[in-house]
């Protein structure tokens, strides 16, 4: 299959959104684009399994390399493996749900949908890129749409949050950039460009690896809410409009985790090994600190944002453990967290539209007045605290099991601490869900009359819940997709470490 289609469809639908007359046609073009893209991704998934079924062992499938800046040997080199494909599925689902949730956007709807689609274009491009320049291009491509989405359609301290987010992410990119130039010149790749596959085959001296690894890992880590660079997450997410929060938490934070894995760890294996204690330390802090910080929050969006810091800590923990199972778990956690947090933000957005508040304390008994939305809310909450049968459990369990495989005592201690954080998660989730959904209805806005969800909201929720439940009930599906690729990746890392 031609992977460039994955870029072409968002591009065309973004153009269509701008060019067609009227708000309604614009949103239909956005929806059609999102549906087409999801269909394409699912077709790609089927093709992928079909090709793998024939015993194809190469790391990346459906590779294509279109020359871009030929004098610098930079090309649009694309290809997918199980890891990137699972990210693509996640992106397609979240984009569809995001477009549906913002269906009734009436303030400058065209620009809004254009920016949303544009944001997703960055994510698609990022996940399929096998050329570091292209990858970096798509990584930064998403920064400005985020800024504008928060700045124009946001709420609360939006100008502060938008600025903070844009600057922190830009700082992340700046670090990544330094790492990339280092790779470019130090791996002897000046004649073959920034191709990921080529660089992975080059042998880079350990000292050089150790020098550039922090740039790449911290740079991508800022996108993935690495402690202590997570501070953009709560502000950015809570000021953003619903769909943008879904995209931010569901997709954009995954760019960071994916980059840490695919670029930093994969290309600099010896350094990843060297720095793994630091990664474990920071991610354990993020998990525990994030969980405790969440218990103090009163605003639903802040609750979800801080819990995202905690949940994304699991991703980095899994990557830092450097065992195949842990990395599989990290990827699963990315998918699971993406779906779950998008669902959570969607539910919060729906509640907010009706109650005009996000303060937990001002809500109560919503199950009686808006049953559908409340159920969605509860499902998102349960997935977040890791209820078996939903995706959160599967992913976190895999991370823990993989982490335990690492025999180092300190690593096991970190695993235990991370495990323990689930209790805290249960505390804040139960408290929020209990207060908002259960009990007698309060008297505020939206509490007195029965307000059911509209078709678009239902559809959005169903799309995301389907993903969550499918992974929860049949984790082997995701596992089959991811673990062969993580095994290959780990193989590469092991060779890289032992070669030194």
């Amino acid at each position: 299959m031609n992977l460039y289609l994955l870029l072409l469809i968002p591009l065309l639908s973004a153009l269509a959104v701008i060019l067609v007359p009227g708000r309604k046609t614009a949103r239909w073009s956005a929806l059609m684009g999102a549906i087409a893209q999801l269909g394409l991704v699912l077709y790609l998934l089927q093709q992928y399994f079909a090709v793998r079924g024939t015993g194809e062992k190469s790391n990346f499938l459906f590779e294509a390399n279109q020359s871009w800046f030929s004098s610098l040997h930079i090309g649009l080199h694309v290809g997918v493996d199980g890891i990137s494909l699972s990210m693509l599925v996640l992106t397609a689902l979240v984009v569809l749900a995001g477009v549906l949730v913002s269906w009734n956007m009436d303030n400058r709807a065209k620009e809004f949908f254009f920016l949303l689609i544009f944001l997703s274009l960055g994510a698609y491009g990022f996940f399929i890129s096998l050329d570091l320049f292209t990858l970096f291009f798509f990584l930064e491509l998403a920064v400005i749409p985020k800024f504008l989405l928060i700045c124009i359609w946001g709420s609360g301290a939006k100008s502060y949050s938008a600025m903070k987010l844009a600057l922190m992410l830009m700082a992340g990119s700046a670090l990544v950039f330094v790492g990339l130039t280092g790779l470019y010149f130090q791996s002897g790749m000046t004649t073959t460009g920034l191709d990921l596959v080529n660089i992975s085959n080059a042998s880079i001296p350990v000292a050089i690896q150790q020098f550039f690894f922090p740039f790449l890992f911290v740079g991508f880590g800022i996108f993935g809410a690495l402690f202590p660079f997570h501070t953009w997450v709560p502000d950015g997410h809570s000021s953003a409009p619903t769909a943008a929060s879904m995209f931010l938490a569901g997709i954009s934070m995954k760019l960071g985790g994916y980059g840490c894995l695919r670029v930093a760890t994969y290309l600099l294996p010896a350094a990843a090994h060297y720095y793994s204690p630091a990664i474990i330390l920071l991610s354990t802090i993020a998990i525990i600190y994030g969980a405790f910080a969440t218990t103090m929050q009163k605003d639903l969006k802040y609750i979800n944002a801080y819990s995202s810091v905690s949940h994304c800590g699991f991703v980095l923990l899994g990557i830092g453990m450097l065992t195949p199972t842990a990395i599989t778990g990290a990827v699963m956690q990315m998918v699971s967290h993406g779906l779950m947090t998008a669902l959570f933000f969607a539910a919060i957005g729906m509640v907010y539209e009706r109650t005009h508040t996000r303060m937990v304390i001002q809500m109560g008994g919503l199950l009686k007045v808006m049953p559908f939305i409340s159920v969605v809310f509860v499902i998102a909450g349960l997935c977040s605290l890791g209820l078996p049968g939903l995706s959160g459990f599967v992913a976190e369990m895999t991370v823990f099991m993989g982490s335990w495989q690492n025999p180092n005592t300190w690593y096991r201690l970190a695993t235990i601490l991370a495990c323990a954080s689930i209790v805290v998660t249960a505390v804040y989730i139960m408290r929020a869900v209990g207060q908002v959904v259960m009990g007698p209805p309060k008297t505020g806005d939206g509490h007195t009359t029965h307000l059911s969800a509209a078709w678009n909201e239902k559809l959005a929720a169903v799309v995301l819940i389907a993903g969550i439940v499918l992974i929860g009930m049949a984790p082997f599906l995701l596992n089959q997709l991811i673990s062969p690729s993580t095994d290959q990746l780990m193989e590469h890392i092991k060779n890289g470490v032992s070669a030194k």
């Binding site: 800046f69 320049f133 930064e140 491509l141 800024f147 700045c151 700082a171 330094v178 130039t181 130090q186």
Partner: protein
């Protein structure tokens, strides 16, 4: 060499001279022309000049090799011609109201002609002549807002600073002449040996250039001059003048001062760091949009210096490419400033509040231009900055790259402040709909198209790289 060759090689300068003569004839009253038809005529001539520059210019050497024309100089001159054309379109409404339109064009084109001579110079004397021909009309242009005192102040500052920096340059040039006995670039390059006198001369020349391209610590004139001059002149100063000087700076450094590679490298690195850091830090504090763009253009000079520090053909390519990108981005931004300040007379950043609501077109053009200046994708600025820094990194000086990368974050801040001001709803009056003349609308659209396409289309960079590969 036949007379035809002279015409073909000197085509850029000769056609400018021809246009100037035509304007003079109009001015002395050979034909009676309305302001409108005059502007149409001149814009038409500039279009012809641009097209002619693309297709007619030929390579060759003239005047005992003092003047040379090759693929690179042809490209550079065409870039400048295009930029002047855009500026002329953008200033249409302003010029229509001005009493001295003819003089404006005479001075502008004379300055451009000086730059063309300078770019083609293969000899320090010829370079100096071109430089003076380009600066003196500029000082008069700065004074073109005849009723504003700030404008005269700007002209005064520019002329004094130019005189000072020309003095430094001349002193450097004479020392070089003393050390090598020649003013020709190739001879200098072959005879130059590192000695106290030569390094002193070299520093003097670099300082002279530093003044002209407003590198820190020689930047002090920039903000005042940019703020005081009429907007079209400011854009000319910040894009065309600076661009041409960077072209010449790069060429001189590589062609004449090749033996001083190490000294050149160190000096350029120091200048680059100072220019980026100080330009950016001062830009944060500005409240006037023209001053902000002035400091931003200082910071951009710093980034260009990073690319220059590569001292290779890739470095030259990245500089030329960046100037092309910078031309579109800065002219986009100044184009909007020009439209707004001509109509409302307001130039503060806070006056741009609510622009998105009242004038979405202008707000988007401004935002895209600023994003390009900040270097975020998919605008061409991203590619320009990336290639500059990539070229700079070829010397494995990662400290410089880290500083440059972090400076990009700082610069993003003040560009985003402007974007934020435009896009957030204004407190109180959102402002009125500002009419944009047809020509400036076209110019703005060309700038935006340039910003969006120059980067994405990899062929542009590849072409520039192949042109630069031989120099």
């Amino acid at each position: 060499m036949s007379w035809k060759d002279y015409f073909l090689i000197l085509q850029p300068e000769l056609s400018l001279a021809l246009i100037i003569v035509i304007i003079l004839l109009v001015k002395v009253g050979v034909t009676e022309m309305k302001r409108d038809s005059f502007l149409t005529l001149i814009n038409l001539l500039l279009v012809l000049n641009f097209i002619g520059g693309l297709f007619i210019q030929t390579d060759g050497n003239l005047f005992h090799e003092m003047y040379h024309s090759n693929a690179l100089t042809r490209l550079e001159k065409s870039i400048l011609n295009g930029g002047v054309l855009l500026i002329s379109w953008q200033s249409y409404s302003w010029l229509k109201l001005h009493r001295h339109t003819e003089e404006f064009y005479i001075l502008l084109l004379a300055s451009l002609m000086g730059m063309d001579f300078m770019i083609s110079s293969n000899n320090l004397l010829q370079f100096y002549l071109g430089l003076e021909l380009s600066t003196i009309p500029l000082a008069a242009l700065c004074n073109f807002d005849l009723l504003r005192r700030k404008s005269s102040e700007a002209a005064m500052k520019l002329i004094l600073n130019s005189a000072f920096s020309s003095g430094l340059l001349l002193m450097g040039i004479s020392f070089v002449y003393g050390a090598t006995g020649s003013l020709d670039f190739p001879v200098i390059a072959s005879k130059l040996v590192s000695s106290g006198l030569v390094i002193f001369a070299f520093l003097l020349i670099i300082s002279g250039f530093g003044f002209k391209v407003s590198a820190v610590p020689f930047h002090l004139w920039t903000a005042d001059v940019y703020q005081g001059s009429p907007v079209p002149v400011t854009s000319f100063l910040s894009v065309i003048s600076k661009g041409s000087l960077f072209f010449v700076f790069t060429a001189t450094l590589y062609a004449a001062f090749r033996p001083l590679q190490l000294e050149g490298y160190r000096t350029i690195c120091i200048l680059a760091v100072l220019t980026m850091v100080i330009g950016n830090l001062f830009a944060i504090r500005q409240t006037n949009i023209k001053r902000l763009l002035a400091f931003s253009s200082i910071a951009q000079s710093g980034f260009i210096l990073v690319g220059m520090s590569a001292q290779s053909s890739v470095g030259t390519a990245s500089v030329v490419y960046f100037i092309l990108v910078y031309l579109f981005s800065n002219l986009g931004a100044f184009g909007v400033v020009s439209v707004i300040s001509t109509y409302t007379g307001k130039e503060n950043i806070s006056d741009y509040g609510g622009l998105y609501k009242s004038n979405p077109f202008l707000a988007w053009v401004m935002a895209i231009s600023l994003f390009s200046l900040a270097g975020v994708p998919p605008t061409a600025g991203f590619f320009g900055k990336f290639f500059l820094l990539l070229a700079g990194a070829s010397k494995a000086n990662y400290g410089l790259i880290v500083i440059a990368a972090l400076n990009m974050v700082v610069s993003l801040y003040y560009y985003l402040v402007v974007v934020k001001t435009m896009f957030l709803p204004a407190e109180g009056d959102p402002g009125e709909k500002i009419p944009v003349s047809m020509l400036s609308r076209v110019a703005l659209v060309i700038c935006v198209a340039g910003i969006l396409l120059t980067g994405i289309m990899g062929g542009v960079y590849d072409y520039i790289n192949s042109v630069c590969a031989n120099f």
